[in-house]
Amino acid sequence: MQRWEACRERFRAIGVRLVAISADTVAEAARMRERHGFEMTLLSDESLSVIDLYHLRHERNVTPTRGLIRPLAVPATILIGTDGVVKWIDRSSDFRTRSSPDHVLAAVGDALADHL
């Protein structure tokens, strides 16, 4: 997420607001925000209700600090236009890998240009 925060200005330059959501508690999200100096919007979905709403629950995760099996969100990035319509989706096939901000910036730029 640090790489994303570093690219926040570039996303802002193309008019996009970054909103990140995870199964973290509010306190954990706040700690992450403070520790890394995040200015993007960080959301807490401790109950996984939003993650389930989007069918993005990954049930079996081996996590180093929070027990062997913990449900988390499948890494995914969804671009939503000002009209509330989904313009682009990127979903990871592996929870350890995420698309790089550069890759997403290019794709988002193309998606927004296509829908103008």
């Binding site: 990140a20 199964a23 973290d24 700690r31 890494p75 509330g84 989904v86 890998t97 995420r98 988002v108």
Partner: protein, 131 residues
Amino acid sequence: MPEFSGQTISLIAAAVAIGNLGLYWLRVKAVRLPDRATGQQVAMMLAGALAVTALMNQPGWVGGTAATIALLLAAAFLIMTLTSGTPSTAPAVEVGHPAIDFTTTDSQGDPFTLSQVKGRPVLLKFFRGHW
């Protein structure tokens, strides 16, 4: 059929394991991971089997070290890839369809509703968070 020494087999095992890991790393960097890493998992099983075979054939300290490295890399790769695959279900939204509205809490404890974000596109990023 040529007969390979334990050391030769262990070096082959290490080469297969390290090469396979390097290929996987390149794919991660290029964001080009396939949905299933079956081919690479099979390659790692082969590296592991070769390493075990080498260890049973007196590979010497060089071969023993190479075989151990190959075995550890193969085991780590298989554990990581076999437990990290994500569900094959498609997201509940599609391009061209409305995003699903939701309300949740932000890191400052304030409510956040997706539909109340006005004026500019939103890049909604689902991530694993603290783990």
